[in-house]
Symmetry: C2
Subunit: 556 residues, 2 copies
């Protein structure tokens, strides 16, 4: 084993923290991911910064809170000025490559303002969230009456499928994400009832094996130190999986939803999410029974592909010098709390699996450890910078490196709280509530003990006691007995909101050096007489001679 | 009179709000500025966003709070991604030009990251805070043992002076900002005792007449619509002025300092500012007696130059189509509250003169009006955009246009509070206090009634009752009777701190349009059966045909 030369940064999309056997799922066995955890550190309290793909990822890739980078929901472009992983790692000699999804929307206006050509190296990197692109695949080519949400989605994958014989304009939809009936009708995976169908695709041709293969291809042909962001769309919807995974799980394998009748009809914003199409759908037993086996099958396939990948890395000696990070961008409610999808703040959505395997001997002491430190996804960027041999620019990156934990030098992070944010203003919920676009933000602050959810709408907060109510079923937001707890969490959120998150152009060392530098560069303030002040600081202003201006030869 | 075609945006540096006769100074008569006020609107409660040159200006030029743009004190580069006046006005057909000072420090690292050549048009604009430069003159060429705080300072002015016969390496210092004794010794204006000397320069060659002339030259040679930022360094230190202004004011013209013995030895941070070199100096009567006549003389000269400028504009017909805005970047304590300089939050420092003359007929109704609305310097950018015929991009600009007030359509702004910030971490105060660089920020929130100062250091807040104690002599920060007032102001500051200030890449209209757009672009969420959902939204997923994958001709 050696110090990590490369970083394989694996992200799955919408993978719940508790749907892996190493995290406790009793029926979904994921031996390959479990084996990685046994060789590394498994974090049991890792939170994402936003319960939606784009914003969560922008935080991960920038190492900054959503409130700092401003890409508050999907399709909000990340500002051209925000630095990303590539900006931090390339100067350290580490290439920063993408194989898969980012959900990045380029800041075209910002690029135009600065004259950045979209086809220049810098332009492409800025548009691709700092990555050099081996393959960009956001994993979706939806089709609607007004066109596609992502016209470039699944482009390369679709070409590859067509070359393989899958005849369709959109084989991503018609084969990889749909079933087929006996009459040749496509059973679209967009409709949840079809989740129980096997996808009409040869399993090795489906998305997770395809992207895993592309990751292997990238690694095989790359020599210089690299970070490879292998970013797979599944188990994200459309929920549908080919055989043999389609038939692996039945009703006996499903965990019951985490929910209580008392959760309904309470808080107005929470209720609005429950009353949304997805909330209502996932509150139905038939929906859960159709979807969950497919979701579990997708994860089982993920695990098998990780087995393929880790085996190949081992066979080629690369486990010896490659750090492997495996995580998710958020979870999936799957009916918990009468919600579907992810855009709320219970652990089902905001907590994610995070496993880090560091090949270096320093990490031997922690192999197989489970760490309950409060971790945020913004911690990955500084972890990568430190792994690549750099100093963490903590005036830009807001997380903290996990290397001290990985190397057994620390048991915990320094933080007392994690933060998560969601902006429902531009969403269907905002539409339904006719919400003020400036007052549609929600903030979560959580310690190991408490979780508070704040609503900009002016509605009361929600509060959960994570120790005594780990399933978050009893909202204490109206409890007078908890007024002090709530006030304390608000104080901490206020302090967080005041942090100097935009003071990014100078390091703390540079700022401290400024404390005395204006004096030594001639700024003399409040000195009545030069003799009151150190002579070396004023020497340049002493003993100067001039002529009265009236005697000068003037050139008027 | 016509709608304003051009905008003359005049800023003085360190000009107190109350050192003009139209703002009530009993001895300092400023008839030319008063005349402008009589033709326009004079704002009596205009606050800057930071009590220091650079940060205040970055807020004015970006239209954003310091907490948003991050240039928290002088010499902190403004991020390359921040948009400035030129970005907003040039697309509206209005050139955006600088004649004078900005205190801009270019974000060289950010420019290098994006490959912006410093000599390209875009590069120069980004480096110059969005302006095209007719003349950059930050008004200082200090000289210290480690070089100059601003090596480029006063470069063009110094060349001009040398051409005129002022023999020196640094005539800005040796002539414009120093006196001379009978033996030919330069009496440096950096030392306050020399403030009572006349500057050794022919008055028309001193800085304010020079820059005013440069402004006239710019206007004379420019045809297309322009905003001209005529930005003069005086009455900023070095406090020294040539005759006849040097002899105009004596002890009988000085206002007593606004201060009380009760203000000393109280709050630890406030005390640290009082105990600084400038605080102690300006608490001395001899210092005030030396400096104030020079400060007043500099302002009297400013007024005479404004008379020259406004007369010329009138004679050339330009008063008919030029909006004129006259303001300052902050005030000067001059011994008030036992402080010198400006870096604290009493009105002596944070309130500035603001006069806006709009030539358009719509403004006839308000000529000569005094408006007591709460105004912030970030309001100027939206005012300019609206004057140039644009729609205010209020997802970027955080202020509000003052045109409704200027046109008599509103009596007030919408805001209840103004905000001001200062970061003493990188300053001499930070050095003296050994302060945590992340905990050295101070925030001010003020309504028409109250002013609260918050310290990140953990020290208690300060509170002033502006109605009953307009001189801010009685700090109520420890008053139990005001606990509710303090809590209310903190709530408002917290709300402000949570604003989505970085969500700048999409307008509110675009964000609202997103509420329904993913549905019409093929994202189908939570739909069990297609028949449960509008057919037009799912039509593309219906009636599709495919073959079983097993029957396809595979290209393996």
């Amino acid at each position: 084993m050696a110090k990590a030369k490369n970083i394989l940064f694996i992200m799955f999309d919408q993978l719940r923290w508790d749907y892996l056997s190493c995290y406790g799922h009793p029926h979904l066995h994921t031996p390959h991911i479990d084996a990685l955890a046994a060789q590394g550190v498994r974090f049991s309290r890792s939170y994402i910064q936003s319960p939606i793909c784009g914003s969560s990822r922008m935080s991960t890739y920038t190492g900054r809170y959503v409130h700092s980078h401003g890409a508050t929901t999907n399709a909000v472009p990340l500002k051209v000025g925000e630095m990303t992983l590539g900006d931090h790692l390339r100067p350290l000699g580490m290439g920063t490559w993408l194989v898969g999804k980012t959900h990045m929307r380029a800041d075209a206006d910002g690029m135009a303002r600065l004259g950045l050509a979209p086809d220049s190296i810098i332009g492409v990197r800025v548009a691709e969230c700092g990555f050099d692109v081996f393959e960009r695949d956001d994993g979706m080519l939806p089709e609607g009456p007004d066109g596609s949400y992502d016209p470039e989605g699944a482009r390369t994958y679709n070409e590859w499928l067509r070359e393989k014989g899958y005849e369709s304009d959109n084989p991503w939809h018609d084969f990889a994400n749909s079933g087929l009936d006996e009459d040749g009708n496509v059973l679209s995976g967009w409709f949840l009832k079809n989740a129980s169908e096997p996808a009409n695709i040869d399993e090795p041709d489906s998305e997770t094996p395809y992207l895993t293969g592309r990751g292997i291809e990238f690694i095989e042909q790359t020599q210089e130190p690299w970070l490879c962001h292998l970013s797979c769309i599944k188990p994200h919807w459309p929920y549908i999986v080919p055989e043999p995974y389609a038939s692996m799980y039945g009703p006996e394998h499903l965990l019951p939803p985490i929910r209580g009748e008392n959760e309904r009809g309470g808080h107005p914003i929470f209720s609005a999410f429950q009353d949304s199409i997805v909330g209502k759908a996932f509150s139905r037993d038939d929906v859960r029974q159709a979807v969950l086996p497919a979701y579990m099958g997708l994860i089982k396939q993920v695990d098998d592909q990780m087995g393929r990948l880790f085996g190949w890395l081992k066979d080629t000696g690369r486990m010896d010098d490659t750090m492997i990070v495996l995580t998710s961008d958020h979870g999936d409610f799957l009916g918990d709390h009468w919600l579907g999808e992810k855009t709320f703040f219970h652990d089902s959505s905001t907590k994610v699996p995070l496993i880090i395997y560091d090949p270096s001997p320093e990490a031997d002491a922690t192999r197989g450890m489970v760490c309950d430190a409060l971790v945020e996804s913004i911690d990955l960027a500084p972890t990568f910078v430190e792994t690549a041999g750099g100093e963490v620019p903590d005036h830009i990156l807001e997380g903290q490196s996990l290397l001290p934990i990985l190397h057994g030098k620390a048991q915990d992070t320094d933080r007392q709280y994690v933060f998560c944010e969601y902006d429902y203003g531009p969403s269907g919920i905002g539409h339904k509530l006719h919400s003020d676009i400036r007052k549609s933000q929600m903030f979560m602050i959580a310690s190991k003990k408490w979780k508070l959810i704040h609503f900009e709408s002016g509605d009361r907060p929600m509060l959960f006691d994570l120790e005594n109510d780990p399933q978050e079923l009893n909202d204490l937001g109206e409890s007078n007995a908890h007024a002090e707890v709530i006030a304390g969490l608000y104080d901490a959120m206020f302090e967080w909101a005041r942090r100097p998150s935009q003071r990014t152009t100078l390091s703390e060392q540079q700022l401290i050096a400024m404390r005395t530098s204006s004096r030594t560069r001639g700024i003399v303030l409040g000195v009545y007489d030069e003799d009151e002040y150190p002579e070396d600081l004023t020497v340049k202003y002493r003993n100067r001679k001039a002529r009265p201006f009236s005697t000068l030869v003037r050139d008027d």
